[in-house]
Structure formats: C-alpha cells, structure tokens
Symmetry: C2
Subunit: 156 residues, 2 copies
C-alpha cells in the first residue's frame, strides 16, 4: 500500500519523505560523533562564514533564532565553538580546535554519503535536483512575500 499514486499534494509529501530520510541518514552517520545533522549544518555554516551571528546562522539554516540559540548553546558547552562579542549585540561564532577536528571527521562522512547518493542517482541528477529544490524554494517564498499571506485563489 505504501506509495501513493494520487496527484494532489504528492510533491509536498515526497519532499517531506526525502527530507526525513536524508535527516535520518545523516543523523545515523554522525551519531557516534555525538553530532546531529542540524549541528553539522551549523558547524559547516560557521566554517564557511566565520564570525557569523546567531541570527544570521538561524536564517541560513532555516530555523528560528531561538531554536538556533539552543543549538549554539549545546555546541558551545561541548567546546566545539566559541563566541566573542562583535558589533552591536552580535556574538560572533567560531570553530574551536576541537570543533574543527570533529567537523573535519563529520564532513568526510557527509561527503561519503553524498558520493553514495551521486552513484545511485547520477551526479548530474543530483546537481539538477539541488537546483530544482532551490528554484522551488525561491518560487514559493516569492509568492508568499508578494501577496503577504494571500496566495492563489482563496475564493472557492
């Protein structure tokens, strides 16, 4: 019975399924490092944007500032990141030695996973999928911003 054939809402459902499966796979691959997929993404973002603020981190990782603050607190308590005062109220996040070491190990796991996916789907397909996902996100966010919470025909 598993896979639905009906049309309506299919894309949304498959999006949810794929995201869940990817999260589970990543969490699983990282569990023995004591990292969650979310934490890895945070480390990755800090590594790419050193001295980033919590608020910006939240935006880049698609969670609320509060949720990010909780994650950051844990990573800081674990000694993987450090924070120092920056401009305004900003607390700039940086990877510590330990954080970088763990991130390097975790990163190679993720890359292995991505290679595995690339082999299964084909590298071109993955790139295409990635691009389509971004286009979809853009198009949905634009439609919301433009109409401020009144998209598509509400009159039926």
């Amino acid at each position: 019975m598993a896979p639905l054939d009906d049309e309506t809402g299919r894309l949304f459902l498959h999006l949810k399924a794929a995201q869940g499966a990817a999260r589970n796979a990543l969490d699983d691959a990282l569990s023995d490092l004591g990292l969650t997929s979310m934490q890895l993404i945070i480390l990755r973002t800090i590594e790419y944007y050193p001295a980033i603020s919590g608020a910006q981190l939240a935006r880049d990782c698609f969670v609320t500032p509060q949720a990010m603050a909780a994650n950051i607190a844990k990573l800081e308590a674990a000694g993987l990141i450090a924070r120092n005062k920056g401009q305004g109220r900003i607390l700039e996040a940086h990877l510590t030695e330990k954080g970088r070491a763990i991130f390097d190990r975790a990163g190679s796991r993720v890359q292995s996973a991505e290679r595995y996916i690339a082999e299964a789907l084909g590298a071109g397909t993955v790139a295409e999928l990635d691009r389509n996902l971004r286009d979809l996100t853009d198009c949905l966010q634009k439609s919301l911003v433009v109409t401020t919470s009144r998209t598509w025909d509400t009159d039926n």
Copy 2:
C-alpha cells in the same frame, strides 16, 4: 550572505529549505479553512484509501503512530472524519460529509498551488523533481536498512 555556496551538506540544507517553504505555503493557503498541511495530507490519504488504519496512515504520511493519533483525534473532534472498528484493533478512518466538503475546497487550493509551481518551474521539471525525490528517498532508506545503522565509512 544568504545563499551558501559551500558544497558539503548542500543537498540536505536545500531539501530542508524546500520542505519548509512548501509547508509554510500550504499552511498559509489552508489557514482560513482551519486546516494544517499535515491534516490535508491525512484527509487526502483517507480519501484515497478509505477504511485505512491509523498505523498505515502514519506510515504513508511519514510520521510516528503517536503523532498520527494526535492529528486524527483533532480531525475526528472537528467532525471531518469518523472511525469504526475493523479487523483486529484497527479503527477504520472515513471522511464525513463535512470532511469531504472541506477536503474538496482544500484540494482545489493545493491544485492551484501546484499549478503555480508548474508554471514557475515547468511541468516537466516538477515531474522530474518528484521522481528524483522518490529515488533519493528510496536510495537513502535502502542504505539504512541494508547496513542497519552502519552506512558509509565510519572509520575516519
């Protein structure tokens, strides 16, 4: 600063972003019907598989049985679905008149949204995206099942 250009973990991040954006868009489009995107998916699944059990519903919608039970309880309290005893412990779910009426209205909203997406990305692209998402899910789930929580090289 917004869009990350780094490679590692990109697919996962874009998956999360797209799923979040789609969920928000759907929730927004359905808010005045008092329906969440999750509830719509549930109604859709019941409509397609009448007399379905809660456990099966949970599997099809990619949530735990407990989470599904909570959702079902709300839908039942709202009079959108009804349940009757079936084989075993199964409680068969059906749409009520009211449930079908609301589902029809909600469904046309979703279809409008999907048309909007199809126009933005191209119908072929959407079909392709949908297929790729399913392939990705399959490949990730298979890799987990096969190795029972020891996928990819853990030795680094």
